[in-house]
Symmetry: C2
Subunit: 136 residues, 2 copies
């Protein structure tokens, strides 16, 4: 298990399949055809189907909730900048990195970002979370 300290980092590699985009569309009710329909993707400014930004963002939920700091994580606040599209079946790597730990409360700030397979930042942001399990 990674030590919970400033600079600690966790990451996950993931590509989203057509089935996963459909599953997410059902959960979010986001049936925007730019995500689901080949033709609509082609006619968009991206020229192909793109993964829902909120689905890409969900990888940070997984990293924060299961890796760093891990089980028990409660989200307080999140800022997300969608910098570049993520395409269907394109592998990205999502990272969380601790940038601050409050001394008075078990509150942790992390940079949350992801790179595509060309090394381009596709999403960048900050998450502030409560981690009751933190020993201070």
């Amino acid at each position: 298990m990674t030590t919970i300290s400033v600079g600690a980092k966790a990451s996950i590699k993931k590509a989203f399949s057509s089935d996963e985009l459909e599953a997410f569309a059902k959960l979010s009710k986001d049936f925007n055809p730019i995500h689901l329909d080949e033709e609509a993707g082609k006619n968009s400014i991206f020229k192909q189907r793109v993964v829902h930004g909120a689905l890409v963002n969900s990888l940070f939920s997984g990293l924060l909730g299961c890796e760093l700091p891990g089980e028990g994580t409660i989200f307080i606040e999140q800022t997300i900048k969608f910098k570049a599209p993520v395409f269907l079946d394109q592998e990205i790597e999502a990272f969380v990195e601790i940038t601050n730990i409050r001394e008075d409360k078990p509150v942790i700030t992390l940079r949350t970002y992801a790179l595509n397979d060309e090394g381009t930042i596709v999403i960048d942001g900050v998450a502030i979370i409560l981690f009751p399990g933190l020993k201070s």
Copy 2:
């Protein structure tokens, strides 16, 4: 179809089931037991299972991508404050409301928030989106 103008609003009512939490856990790899396990929920500060914040947030993806402004929406930036927990099977109502439309570019700012069945704000934030279909 709602007119795209400052003050325009769209909303959706939704409760998340155990099956949906499990489906989202698989997509996000967020198997944090506070969401999935009855016992872990009871032992948390919330005393019961809570819905993944990133899943609650996905409702804005649906509203923005399919309702207001609708198909073709591309996320640029989002800020989310998680103000109160959303419990399993608890109905919430999520809203998006246009607060600004840029004159020089098809860029729209919306307040994105949700209320639980007691009228408490559970999530509050801002989304900035690109909507190429906007006639200016």
